[in-house]
């Protein structure tokens, strides 16, 4: 239950961040794709079918604030979710770099497929820029998340080491108990 609540919170946060803050974090025409990041975390939280459903909900949210044809993102995010699920099997461990790679892949596929599908639905001819933009956003998102995760790991390791040095080892120290 807690996992589901966490997934719902993450989806809500990602949609709010994407619709309010992503534009201001724009860097040389690329911006972070928070739904892609959250999709990876959803798949991590729920490797089973629940992850797909949460992903579809995320797609529905993207459909709402993108002002494009509704339903397209639901289908696309299901496809990307299936792809991510095949990459992240249940019980598999995730490092910071692997998470970053998955975020890059998710963002690239989601944005590339989305731009291509919507473009083709509007009778436009295929353009490589659609995928290039997805690639740039993917790099930005992956770098952002990987940096944060690495920094958190660094902090965690530092605190752990400090605790270990403080701890007094009592093994084979029976002499300390003697009067």
């Amino acid at each position: 239950m807690g996992r589901h609540l966490l997934a719902a919170g993450l989806i809500y946060l990602s949609l709010a961040l994407q619709s309010s803050l992503a534009g201001e974090l724009s860097l040389s025409h690329s911006q972070p794709w928070f739904p892609g990041i959250m999709l990876v975390f959803c798949v991590r939280l729920h490797p089973g079918s629940a992850g797909l459903m949460w992903g579809a909900l995320l797609g529905l949210g993207v459909d709402c604030f993108s002002n494009e044809r509704m339903g397209v993102q639901v289908i696309l995010v299901t496809l990307v979710g299936l792809m991510l699920r095949s990459c992240a099997r249940e019980g598999a461990t995730f490092g910071s770099l692997r998470t970053g790679a998955l975020i890059f892949l998710a963002t690239l596929c989601w944005k590339g497929l989305s731009a291509t599908t919507l473009g083709l639905l509007e009778n436009q001819s295929f353009r490589s820029e659609w995928w290039l933009a997805g690639c740039k956003d993917g790099v930005y998102s992956a770098t952002l998340v990987t940096s944060v995760l690495l920094f958190m790991n660094l902090l965690k390791n530092g605190i752990k080491r400090r605790d270990e040095t403080r701890r007094t080892v009592l093994t084979n120290q029976w002499s300390m108990l003697s009067p």
Binding site: Y12, S20, G61, F65, M70, G71, L82
Partner: protein, 314 residues
């Protein structure tokens, strides 16, 4: 992929497809509901972000200002560097000129060679002075006193031929090179007793041996030799360059003395045009001589003298 997963995926695809084909009213309502649900979080994020946004925009403005300042400073630096280069060039030219005017003669007179070059300063007579000189107004002694000027120098048939104030009395000879700095600008044509006429390199009858020298990364390369001819126009023509030799625009043209009196060749000018037709056996080369001042008043005459040290009686 298990059957449950396939079933759920199919359901989701169906939901997506249903939304695509759903009536606009339904989708619009759904959209507005979800957008409204997101609004509180959006407002909260914006409120939290505002102070950072101000700091970020300030930092951004500072960065832009810094970038502009750096660009301005780089432009100024480039300008100053160019000015510095121009000053260095002028300094080098001045040093070279000084060396030419003072150095060649003083250094070479210390040589043990029998024949030495010597630079002699001469003044170019102005048109009025030259006319008065030719008319005999400046001579107060006649031919009886043996002071008559050479007829060729005084000839009224060549009224436009310029004069310098040195002649045979100063041991000037015909064909002596006339220099301005280290550049050859002409040569002596006729020598009178006190004055001489000269030809500029651009004069129609001027001829002089010349060689092409090219500056490369590994130093100066001496190319082929030819004859520099004046044409009565601002450009001279360099003849006698075989087709198999290499000539390029901007190559320098220097004197090609065969007697080796001077340690270094003297500058004539620069190649401005080099053409070789398909059937030509020689290059057609045009040379732009060294620029002259608007009023030529002082020149140096390069002449050869016998080494006084070798002639001195021991």
């Amino acid at each position: 992929m298990n059957s449950r997963m396939i079933l759920i995926s199919c359901c989701l695809f169906l939901v997506g497809g249903g939304l695509i084909v759903a009536p606009a009213g339904v989708t619009a309502r759904l959209r507005s509901e979800i957008t409204d649900a997101l609004r509180p979080a959006q407002i909260l994020i914006r409120q939290l972000h505002l102070p950072y946004a101000a700091t970020l925009s300030e930092a951004d403005a500072t960065l832009v200002a810094d970038a502009q300042r750096i660009a301005t400073l780089q432009k100024e630096l480039e300008f100053e560097r160019n000015r510095n280069r121009a000053m260095q060039t002028r300094l080098a030219q001045a040093a070279e000129q000084q060396f030419t005017e003072q150095g060649i003669s003083t250094v070479l007179t210390r040589s043990r060679r029998l024949v030495l070059p010597q630079l002699t300063d001469a003044a170019v007579l102005g048109e009025i002075t030259a006319e008065q000189w030719r008319a005999g107004k400046l001579l107060d002694h006649g031919a009886k006193h043996g002071l008559r000027e050479d007829e060729l120098v005084l000839s009224p048939r060549k009224p436009l031929r310029p004069l310098i104030d040195l002649g045979a009395e100063a041991e000037i000879s015909t064909e002596d090179a006339m220099l301005l700095g280290r550049c050859v600008i002409g040569k002596i044509e006729h020598v009178g007793r006190w004055t001489s006429t000269f030809q500029l390199v651009t004069d129609l009858r001027y001829r002089g041996r010349a060689q092409i020298i090219r500056e490369t990364d590994s130093g100066f390369v001496f190319e082929t030799q030819g004859i520099l001819k004046g044409q009565g126009s601002p450009l001279c023509r360099l003849e006698g360059i075989p087709a198999e030799k290499s000539v390029r625009v901007n190559d320098a043209v220097y004197t090609a003395e065969r007697d080796g009196i001077l340690p270094t060749p003297l500058y004539y000018g620069q190649v401005v045009e080099a053409v070789l037709g398909p059937d030509d056996r020689e290059w057609t080369v045009f040379v732009k001589p060294a620029p002259l001042p608007s009023h030529l008043t002082h020149v140096q005459i390069l002449r050869t003298i016998l080494n006084p040290e070798r002639l001195a009686v021991k």
